[in-house]
């Protein structure tokens, strides 16, 4: 029943986009492209949250995992002079940070939110200490236009004329949806997150399942970080991730722990930011820049307040599993 409102909203937004496209083609495409680019790290980070929480582990450390990966990816690419190698270093760093959270939250059964907070603070400390000024990337990531598809009006320039990370960010939620809801791995993951004692009884190792899921999800956080540093910004600054890891958690909740729901929610976030920036640039609205910057955070709080209680998290999330 709740989903009906979400579908209605999506249809209204879709119609509005088409109408805008006929009114002003250039601006519509530019706003939509901005929205998608803005959404890419949020989508990837939200997938980290979904994999972890579906397995019963809260990952509040996505922000720190992304920051470390952005750092390692950027400096890896700058030092080796190879963007692909840099991206792989970023993804690897994300996995190491994922294993780090898994060790704390699963193996040691630490309070999961404290374990994630440790990652966040550690990432800020390490990336600021080892930060070096004046490094540059060896080049830009290529924009790959998909033949034929990129000629479609509206959808072509927005969806099919992007960098590789963007394609990955759109494809991964769809793949993850299939994995979560149509495969044995998905069923076991959800069982471990909803009713670990039942999963344990039927022979699924709860802690190994959680450990590996959290570790592999770290690779997605690594991808989000590598995207920010290598494709989106082409640089690295201290405190570079600017709270995206936390916004992603809100997107995960707003998308009801469903990869496709989160994909739509992330795009919706991007759309509000893109619209606000465009209206600001066109001087349609005159709002101080600080309020535009606040927008995603205010939106997060408002949406959480609205959907809370209507959408249920996996029931075992946040609780380490102890055998009776």
């Amino acid at each position: 029943m709740r989903a009906r409102y979400a579908y209605a909203l999506a249809i209204i937004i879709g119609i509005a986009i088409v109408v805008c496209f006929f009114l002003d083609e250039i601006r519509t495409v530019s706003v939509l492209s901005f929205s998608l680019r803005y959404a890419v790290p949020l989508i990837l980070a939200a997938m980290v949250g979904i994999v972890c929480e579906r397995s019963g582990v809260i990952n509040i450390g996505i922000e720190g995992q992304m920051l470390m990966s952005a750092f390692a990816g950027f400096f890896g690419a700058a030092v080796t002079g190879n963007l692909i190698l840099g991206t792989l270093i970023g993804i690897g760093t994300g996995m190491i940070m994922g294993a780090f959270l898994a060790t704390g939250a699963v193996t040691w059964k630490m309070d999961q939110i404290i374990a994630g907070t440790v990652i966040n603070i550690l990432a800020v400390g390490l990336t600021s200490f080892f930060y070096v000024q004046g490094q540059v990337l060896p080049g830009n990531t290529p924009i790959v236009a998909i033949p034929l598809l990129s000629d479609i009006p509206l959808a072509g320039p927005v969806l099919f004329n992007n960098g590789l990370f963007t394609y990955a960010a759109v494809a991964i939620p769809l793949i993850l949806w299939v994995l979560l809801f149509k495969t044995r791995w998905g069923l076991r993951t959800r069982a471990v997150g909803e009713k670990p004692s039942a999963a344990d009884t039927s022979g699924v190792g709860v802690d190994p399942m959680r450990f590996w899921n959290v570790t592999i999800a770290g690779a997605l956080a690594g991808m989000a970080g590598a995207y920010l540093a290598i494709e989106a910004a082409g640089t690295f600054e201290r405190g570079f991730t600017a709270g995206r890891g936390f916004t992603a958690l809100a997107i995960m909740i707003f998308g009801a722990w469903n990869p496709i729901g989160a994909l739509a929610a992330a795009f919706f976030f991007g759309l509000t930011q893109g619209l606000a920036s465009q209206l600001q640039a066109d001087e349609v609205i005159a709002i101080p820049q600080q309020f535009i910057n606040m927008l995603p955070y205010v939106l997060t709080i408002v949406l959480l307040a609205v959907v809370s209680g209507r959408i249920k998290p996996p029931s075992a999330v946040g609780r380490p599993y102890e055998k009776d």
Binding site: G104, V118, Y297
Partner: protein, 371 residues
């Protein structure tokens, strides 16, 4: 819902009364933080050594500059003051089962509110200082109460809302200090200077704000372990459903704990404005709130223990500038040392090494996504 049995926990802070249990039970509560800090210093020393500087000399420079001179001591006390208070803010939250990551935002909003009360009101000193201080605390409490109310009435996790409120506070105070509350006729983003009647005095080399913070920490040590309200906080924190059966209003306790937590963080910002900066500048107060988390966990959510923990971190922070000036080591090495300290005190690494316990139960402080 946490199913923790407080008697089995490792982070001693679920047992508010240190007199219970034998001396060996109390030992880890003191030994683990001390060993963690020493280990973090050792790892920090390796990082310093890798940069080509003698770590012993670097630490000597850091501590002698911070503690060896009167100006150094004054600065350490000034730096420690907001740290004691943000540490207390996080502590009060943890006791009631809330993880307030928003001390930073509460402190910023309060620092700006205090500055406004400081330059806007005209009144004698005996009134102006308490009015400005209380005004700032109310700002902090109000800011935290947004998260408190959402947690109590809408079951929205305070972890996410306080983080979001941090970012909103940063943008909001930046706007307020650059537009409506800006000091006229000069280019910097800052408020006018507060009236002399609102300045906190310094007794000899001891800033009065530091004394206030220590008194507040001792008062909270008493409040949390010896009063009914403190018992309510601890009960709601340990087991909300038991608290409900005992007739304690869980919603009311959450609201109160969050407001008190915000007021404490706000007091940190207010004292910073009234005693150190004398006005509000957005860039001044960075990072204090996150140190509060490290302090609260290092002190194992014990209000009295936040005093030494905050002074230690205040010493590191105020010595970091001299470290860079004299040895070229980036002051961020302090951030690394603090992060490692936080890791070692909150993960059971040291306990495993020292006490050879295999199954150390970890305290579950937080309540997941609130239910």
């Amino acid at each position: 819902m946490s199913t923790t049995d407080p008697a089995r926990t490792d982070l001693g802070f679920t047992d508010p009364d240190p007199r219970r249990g034998g001396p060996l039970d109390r030992l880890p509560a003191i030994v683990i933080p001390v060993v963690s800090v020493l280990l973090a210093f050792a790892i920090g020393g390796i990082l310093i050594w890798l940069q080509g500087v003698n770590p012993f000399q670097a630490y000597y420079v850091l501590f002698s500059n911070a503690l060896g001179t009167t100006e150094g001591l004054l600065r350490v006390m000034q730096k420690s003051t907001p740290l004691i208070l943000t540490g207390l803010a996080v502590t009060v939250g943890l006791r009631a089962g809330l993880f307030n990551i928003g001390a930073q935002g509460q402190l910023l909003v309060a620092a700006l509110g205090t500055a406004w009360a400081g330059y806007n009101f005209q009144m004698p000193m005996v009134l102006h200082i308490p009015v400005a201080l209380v005004f700032g605390m109310l700002c902090g409490a109000a800011w935290a109460s947004i998260a408190g109310a959402l947690r109590a009435y809408r079951s929205v996790s305070e972890v996410i809302t306080t983080i979001m409120l941090n970012s909103i506070a940063i943008a909001l105070v930046d706007y307020l200090a650059s537009e409506p509350f800006k000091e006229p006729d000069q280019p910097l983003t800052r408020t006018p200077e507060i009236a002399p009647t609102a300045m906190l005095p310094t007794f000899g080399i001891v800033p009065s704000g530091f004394l206030i913070a220590i008194v507040v920490a001792i008062v909270f040590g008493w409040l949390l372990s010896r009063t009914t309200q403190g018992f309510r906080f601890n009960t709601v924190g340990l087991n909300p459903s038991a608290a409900r059966y005992a007739g304690i209003s869980v919603k009311g306790t959450i609201l109160l704990a969050m407001a008190v937590s915000g007021a404490l963080a706000g007091m940190g910002g207010a004292i910073e404005t009234l005693g150190v900066t004398g006005r509000f500048e957005p860039a001044f107060n960075a990072g204090l709130g996150f140190d509060g988390i490290t302090i609260a966990l290092l002190a194992r959510a014990n209000p009295i223990a936040t005093i030494p923990a905050a002074i230690l971190i205040g010493t590191l922070r105020s010595g970091a500038a001299a470290l860079q000036f004299q040895t070229g080591i980036e002051p961020e090495v302090v951030d690394v040392i603090l992060a490692i300290t936080l890791l070692l005190v909150s993960a059971p690494i040291v306990a495993r090494l020292l006490f050879r316990k295999r199954n150390i139960k970890q305290t579950q402080v937080t309540q997941g996504w609130g239910s």
